[in-house]
């Protein structure tokens, strides 16, 4: 429908995410290979970004860790969308008691800060990939339900739906033809902004020791490991931090662009910017 213009900024961000997803394939060395002979070395031709306290190649660890950090975020978000979007769609469309129950649950989840829920959940469930996935999912689905529901409520009152109803259009037809196209853009925008936020959350959880466990490389955990050696080898901490920063900044920039493209009502945009 709309002419697709190649936006170099968008292309660059997508390329970055793509490269990170195949990060392990690009890693020059085994990220878990311990070689105490070369511990805490600065950048060299053998180790482009130097080595850590166990002599492991930092570049390889950052690239491999990308898949854990970014992959976990993308997976968790996909699941959050899979749960949150249909729930919001149905809740907004049929309304009534079902909507009331869903909204009370949503209210409770919104009232509890996402970091606290995630920390408590992952703390209770213990470290590990799946547990972290559950913790992120628990705090992220609610944003999608809320956004989609409010979009549906907005669109539901539109006059053109009277025409569809008069013509005898079925609920599934109206949802398919009118509601779904309406929510795709904003949902995509929220998801893109969320990538960055979830990466930060994953890294924060790992940093306080509740995320993915060593030795598997994860950016937040790497950063925490590097803390002790900061005076001797600052790159141990600086590099994973920078990696997080760049990916998160790119994703939220892309999300901002999408927000602008898919006009969201100011209230939704505000809510999204704090909920995401």
């Amino acid at each position: 429908m709309t002419k697709l213009k190649i936006d170099w900024g968008v292309a660059a961000v997508l390329l970055l995410l793509g490269v990170l997803m195949i990060g392990p394939l690009l890693a020059p060395q085994d990220p878990e290979l311990v070689d105490l002979a070369v511990r805490l070395q600065g950048p060299s031709s053998a180790h482009l970004l130097g080595t850590d306290n166990l002599g492991r190649d930092i570049l390889s660890r950052v690239l491999t860790g990308a898949q854990v950090t970014v992959g976990l975020s993308l997976l968790a978000l996909s699941l959050a969308i899979l749960i949150g979007v249909p729930l919001g769609l149905v809740s907004g469309w049929i309304g009534g008691r079902f909507d009331w129950v869903i909204m009370r649950i949503v209210d409770t989840f919104i009232a509890l800060p996402d970091y606290i829920v995630a920390i408590v959940l992952s703390g209770l469930l213990g470290p590990g990939f799946v547990n972290m996935l559950i913790a992120i999912l628990a705090v992220k689905w609610v944003g999608y339900t809320r956004l989609v529901r409010s979009l549906v409520l907005q669109e539901k009152t539109r006059d053109y739906l009277m025409i569809s109803k008069l013509a005898g259009g079925s609920n599934s037809r109206i949802l398919r033809q009118h509601m779904v196209p309406h929510i795709v853009g904003p949902t995509l925008a929220l998801a893109t902004m969320d990538i960055g936020k979830v990466i930060l959350l994953v890294a924060s959880l790992s940093f306080i020791g509740m995320g993915v466990q060593p030795p598997s490389p994860e950016w937040g955990a790497m950063l925490n490991d590097g803390r002790a050696y900061f005076a001797q080898a600052p790159e141990l901490m600086v590099i994973p931090g920078l990696a997080i920063f760049i990916v998160v900044a790119s994703a939220s920039w892309l999300g901002d662009q999408l927000m602008k493209r898919f006009t969201i009502s100011p209230e939704d945009e505000r809510m999204t910017s704090v909920l995401a």
């Binding site: 409770t108 919104i110 009232a111 509890l112 800060p113 996402d114 970091y115 606290i116 920390i119 408590v120 703390g123 209770l124 469930l125 213990g126 960055g196 930060l200 890294a203 924060s204 940093f207 306080i208 020791g209 509740m210 937040g220 950063l223 803390r227 900061f230 005076a231 600052p234 901490m237 600086v238 931090g241 997080i244 920063f245 998160v248 900044a249 939220s252 920039w253 901002d256 100011p266 209230e267 505000r270 809510m271 910017s273 704090v274 909920l275």
Partner: protein, 319 residues
């Protein structure tokens, strides 16, 4: 804005508060029931290396863990209502005592951060709106993107390295002195402020284009009155509406910052309790934080009503 109109939703608030309190107690009760691992095991493991099955059973009976769930809940609720969450496994002292010792630190950190956030929001948001489209605006936008993207703990560590380790200006951890508050506050404020700055900028711009601003200008009202009275008030409303939600993220942020800077606040206490499965502390943490957020939301709702009289007056005495 007569008192009567303020009091209208009071009953609703009380009902909501009670409802939310029960939801929180149920959540914190269930968390312990459903959590993997045995609370008794983690309790015993602290003192003894080897435990027998009999010892476990004895303790279970003693703690009432073999009773039906509802009896346990009622007992738990009774304790909560008296402010009794039992003793902490970590220290053996009362959970409430531990929590109330930690609470002032968190409150101080959150309060100081909020103050800093408000200042930078008004300065940067105001500048960006005033010089819309200029380099200043773009600079503020870049600051927002960067601030929202930088991991708080990482920024905290870098700040410690720069100001404490290298320059020796400020302490690296603890909050023994007011100076100790500076770095954690800055690190947290940078992470929290960006959405506020963006919203204030946009709503200031939006407000200055409103028809009623044009109408006031057409009456010859001075520009300073138009800004101070009409535009500013209009642009504060969207800011306040998101305040309730985002103050939650402030509390979440304090956890990370407290761990990073070694501040003995509620967040650090909770993280340590989680690591040791000290359930009493976790339960108390959930309920206290949850109720704190409820109170914050109430205050936000109140200020929202004060800012926009139509909320409480509409329909009440319509012409």
């Amino acid at each position: 804005m007569r008192p009567a109109t303020w009091l209208v939703p009071l009953g609703k608030w009380v009902a909501q508060g009670i409802g939310f309190f029960f939801v929180l107690t149920i959540i914190s009760f269930l968390i312990v029931q459903l959590a993997p691992g045995d609370a008794v095991l983690s309790m015993l493991r602290i003192d003894t290396v080897a435990v027998t099955q009999d010892e476990i059973e004895a303790l279970r009976n003693e703690l009432g863990l073999n009773d039906p769930a509802w009896q346990q809940y009622v007992r738990f609720l009774g304790g909560v209502l008296q402010g009794d969450f039992g003793a902490s496994l970590m220290t053996g002292k009362s959970v409430m005592g531990e929590l109330s010792k930690a609470f002032p630190y968190t409150l101080m950190l959150a309060g100081a951060t909020m103050a800093v956030v408000i200042v930078i929001t008004f300065v940067l948001g105001g500048l960006a709106a005033r010089f819309r489209g200029s380099l200043v605006d773009k600079g503020v936008a870049a600051f927002c993107t960067a601030g929202a993207a930088v991991p708080t703990f990482w920024l905290g560590l870098l700040l410690i390295d720069l100001f404490a380790v290298r320059l020796h200006i400020l302490p690296s951890s603890g909050m023994a002195t007011a100076a100790g508050l500076v770095l954690p506050t800055v690190a947290l404020a940078i992470a929290i402020a960006p959405p506020y700055i963006k919203i204030l900028r946009n709503s200031l711009i939006e407000a200055s284009g409103r028809e009623f601003v044009r109408a006031a200008r057409a009456r010859g009202v001075t520009e300073s009155v138009i800004f101070g009275k009409h535009t500013l008030r209009d642009s504060l409303i969207p800011l306040v509406t998101i305040l309730g939600v985002s103050l939650g993220s402030l509390l979440g942020g304090t956890v990370i910052v407290e761990v990073t800077f070694g501040i003995p606040g509620v967040g650090k206490l909770a993280v340590e309790a989680l690591a040791r499965r000290d359930y009493g502390v976790i339960q108390a943490f959930i309920i206290v934080v949850g109720m704190a957020i409820f109170v914050i939301n109430l205050l936000v709702d109140l200020s929202y009503r004060a800012l926009d009289p139509s909320i409480s007056l509409k329909g009440a005495e319509r012409a």
